[in-house]
Symmetry: C2
Subunit: 278 residues, 2 copies
């Protein structure tokens, strides 16, 4: 997603120069060759030095380390932001690491696709029409938050502000829980002796519903742990629903199934702007 | 799916005349206006009379009734088949209803998309490259099974033969369980007081993973009940996986999460022909 953000800034002439850093030096070099980056820095600190804007695009588990590394390099007017999928942990790591510069850190989360990482898939239009949550704290400077918000709007995104707490609770429902479920479903099937034969029979419904299970395991392990209280709560509530389904199946009770499926189908069709018909 | 099959047969000149019947007479009339059907019959029996091939495209819960209605109308050489998502129940209903004509009934299941029903979405190429399971019994005439198999191949499908039992056990894993899960997930969220705000934050991952929750509640209620033993078994095994995830979250244990997510991600990427990279 860092690559797509660089591409989006470049396409819209929103940055005069972009310096990248990746733990794998080959990635930075490739970014330069592809024209996504003007330069690749040998470490995080040097990438941040002299930057007007520092964007942390890394698994949330890596954020505390990255924030410590950039802390000393941030210029007196530099703005920092992130693209992490959880916000409470990132906010608290940033507060610890950045000291007074925490006022110039804008926690952000672009809710865009991207289970397939890699610069080759960097898409300058990834954020067109996507929702970006920004979660400034009471300590965040208003003008700094406004600049980051404007940057996202310039990339075509719809910006929503909320507290980090609220973000994590909401995303636990509509992002983290679905990912955990998709991973669990595919792992459950893949662990069976006849997994290959079964998966060969999987249709487009299975493919769609488990696409997110191809996401990065390390990234999602970090997200799951970073937001484990909220995700655990969602997960236990969902298990209770599944147990009700199991009981309805055992009892051969059509009513409970019908009600549950109707509630879901209606809500899901509404998301696509379809009505109650069919 | 009946509309798509009619369209596929028509496009490939595999039927000289197609007569349709739907519980809603308006649907049959629309099929004629659209040119998908040559005629709409006023009831199921009349649709089946004089047909060389009778195709039952209905929720599996409606199959016993439909099979009884066509039983008396089937000509001495007519072939019957279905497009139902479960096979054990359809086979047993057909055996009961059809008498000696059961030898000319070929249980079939095209594993194609189609959570959005309606003749308007009938797609003559829906079955290109899709897998169709046919589940002839020991009583099914070999020449009849071969003809139905050939028909599906002519529509571009890849045909797999297996027992009805095995079909239902396999599909419980890779189709019925994912549908139940998607319904449960969306119902769980839709039932919360802040559902609308949460769903407004849902990204493409959520949309993909819950697309099948927009499927027909009645159709899936029928499927769930028709295959409830196998689905219940799958569901309880999945609940056990989710409980392990919940414990790992409570304990803050990265190892279990990492292993589970890696198993899933590897298996899912393999389905798309992607390797372990990324």
């Amino acid at each position: 997603m860092g690559g797509s953000f660089a591409a989006a800034l470049r396409r819209r002439n929103l940055a005069t120069s972009i310096t990248g850093y990746d733990v794998d030096p080959a990635v930075g070099a490739r970014g330069v060759r592809m024209g996504l980056l003007d330069a690749a820095a040998p470490d995080c600190e040097q990438a941040a030095r002299q930057a007007d804007l520092v964007v942390l695009a890394a698994p949330v588990g890596a954020m505390p380390g990255l924030l410590s590394e950039i802390a000393g390099a941030l210029g007196p007017t530099a703005i920092a932001t992130d693209l992490g999928s959880t916000k409470v942990d990132v906010v608290s790591a940033a507060r610890r690491a950045l000291g007074p510069a925490f006022a110039r850190f804008v926690p952000a989360h672009p809710i865009a696709g991207g289970e397939q990482p890699g610069l080759e898939r960097a898409d300058p239009n990834l954020f067109e029409g996507c929702t970006v949550v920004i979660a400034p704290t009471s300590e965040t400077r208003a003008d700094v938050a406004a600049r980051v918000e404007q940057l996202w709007r310039s990339c075509g995104a719809h910006v929503v502000r909320m507290d980090a707490d609220e973000h994590d609770r909401m995303l636990a429902s509509v992002s983290h829980l679905p990912h955990v479920l998709a991973f669990a479903l595919v792992a459950h099937i893949a662990g069976q002796p006849d997994a290959q034969r079964k998966l060969a029979l999987a249709g487009p419904g299975f493919r769609d519903s488990t696409r997110i299970a191809a996401s990065s395991p390390a990234m999602w392990r970090d997200i799951a742990l970073a937001n484990r209280d909220a995700i655990g709560q969602e997960l236990r509530a969902l298990i209770a629903v599944l147990q009700r389904v199991d009981q309805a199946l055992s009892a051969g009770d059509p009513r409970i199934l019908q009600e549950l499926f109707e509630l879901a189908s209606r809500a899901r069709r509404q998301m696509d702007g379809r009505g109650d018909g069919a």
